[in-house]
Amino acid sequence: MPKLVSHPDEVKIVSRRFGQGAADIDTYLKLDGYTALRTAITQGSEWIINEMKASNLRGRGGAGFPTGLKWSFVPKQSAKPKYVIVNGDESEPGTCKDHLIFLHDPHTIIEGTIIAGLAIGAKMGFIYLRGEYRYLQIIMQKAVDDAYERGFLGKNLLGSGQDFDVVVQTGAGAYEVGEESALMESLEGKRGVPRIKPPFPAVVGLYGGPTVINNAETIATVPHVIAMGGAAFAAVGSERNGGTRLFGVSGHVERPGVYELPMGYNLKKLIYEVAGGIRGGRALKAVVPGGSSTPVLLPDEIDIGLDFDQVGKAGSMLGSAGVVVLDETTCMVEFALRTIQFYQHESCGWCIPCREGTDWLKKSLVRFHAGFGEAKDIDNIRYLAENMLGRTFCPLGDAAAMPIIAFVKKFRKEFEDHLNGRPCPFAQPAELAAL
């Protein structure tokens, strides 16, 4: 069972039921479960969407798109059925927050899904979990079965005259499926390759019907927004960034873990106070602020508030809020290599700049890290990555390119040191053979 952590600065909204056995429906009900659903049924679609807009809740998957606005794009009338999809494909390296939501509070996902359905006029929702999360899928399925039994799902839920069904779906190993259109392909029983946009899912989504697809954390936040009221939720966070966020701190810190803090919380404070500082009292070298696809920040760049806008202004992205902390012992070339190795493995091959780009970057970095690089490789790596940007259907190409560009830009000297008779202490000539 993953360790739960705690810190006095935390504001527990989404995580307030963690560790309290709320996967059990009776416990969930005792802890005010399904009360937001009753409110939502009474108030109706327009009110829900207005509260969501007022909450300034922005998509927790990484893009940070305002949730209420996304929901409002769904046409009221539609010839085809509408759908809600919960994206629990959580696969961005550095990110494990949804893991805890599924484990500790699965009913909140169901409640949020139904509320989203009421808002857009959908009668069916899908909760998609990555295949590796089988034990969480079992917990989620049990919660769904219990919700049916108690009348929170199914025909005429809570006597509202509305029907809503939920299906728990498993993936089978694919980072790419975390991209919304690829997830819909997978849910339709196909290879998870992305669709071209527009049309956007709100108009043409699953089975061609209008679809709202939200990250699991976003959906888990919805009942709390409805319960607190949009304005109260917005007041917890920073400007245009409502509420709290589950920050997953990993890497070289004393107390790694998932901490729920208000949007806009200071990154430096998160690392040095909340997560207990750098392991063994070492010096900080770099921070990846929002999952492996977000550009790296230097120690003098981390005195910033953690919200979508402030991290953006600092030249990176809040992304999935997976904060990966690197101390002075880390070889940045090796770290860049491990990052691109992941994207090369996960590129679905649909778009050539991504398929070829990630492969060439990996090969270049393997050679470079093993001590067989040339001076011109450094600029070539950057040039290759820059030419992937914006040239693919889905953001995986960008996700692979952006961190590499930042590594070369900010740690050029470490790349040069690998050339100047100081091959990396981690270098293994065997890596070359594996090319």
């Binding site: 360790k3 893991h99 997978s186 029983g189 070289h252 998932v258 997976g322 491990r338 992941f342």
Partner: protein, 173 residues
């Protein structure tokens, strides 16, 4: 061949798959979960499994293969009874994921993508498994093992050996 009479799956799994296809507006949506559940029972996607899944969904075997080859958890060859999957992605790497993988190699006497001669263990190096804050982590089949150290490896493997042994005795009883 009708799946009911000639199924390669146990009656329990066959019943589960019968129910699975009814859940979706479109039958084909059951394909990915069906492949995974079939693999859980049979061990891998054999030709017979592909054939039956194709029949159940009502698409060609080629179509099933086209989808199955996309997903990294789906495999076309058998693995050991316990498939050890060690994450070496960034968060795990920073906390000793590679040292952990090396220890598994040493204790099992195999490299990645290999199986021990007794058929008990296979070893895989995998990408992020969503346990970054409890790194380094590994999965044995679907079970997560968090906050591992190389020194914890022998005891972990022993637990699985014991488990296999006691399950074997149950089967013989």
């Amino acid at each position: 061949m009708s799946p009911e009479t000639m199924s390669v799956f146990s009656p329990k799994l066959a019943a589960r798959l019968d129910a699975l296809v009814t859940r979706y507006p479109v039958k084909r949506s059951a394909l990915v979960p069906m492949l995974l559940y079939a693999q859980d029972e049979v061990g891998y996607l054999s030709d017979a499994v592909i054939q039956e899944v194709a029949t159940r969904i009502g698409i060609t075997e080629l179509d099933v293969r086209g989808v199955a080859t996309y997903y990294s958890m789906l495999r076309f060859k058998p693995v050991g009874r316990y498939n050890v999957q060690v994450c070496t992605n960034i968060s795990c790497m920073l906390r000793g994921g590679y040292q952990l993988l090396d220890r598994f190699k040493k204790e099992l006497g195999i490299d990645v993508k290999q199986t021990t001669p007794d058929g008990l263990f296979s070893l895989e190096e995998v990408e992020c498994i969503g346990a970054c804050c409890w790194a380094p982590a590994a999965q044995v089949n679907y079970a997560f093992h968090d906050d591992l150290t190389p020194d914890a490896v022998p005891a972990l493997l022993d637990d699985y050996r014991k488990k296999a042994h006691s399950e074997g005795e149950e089967n013989n009883a």
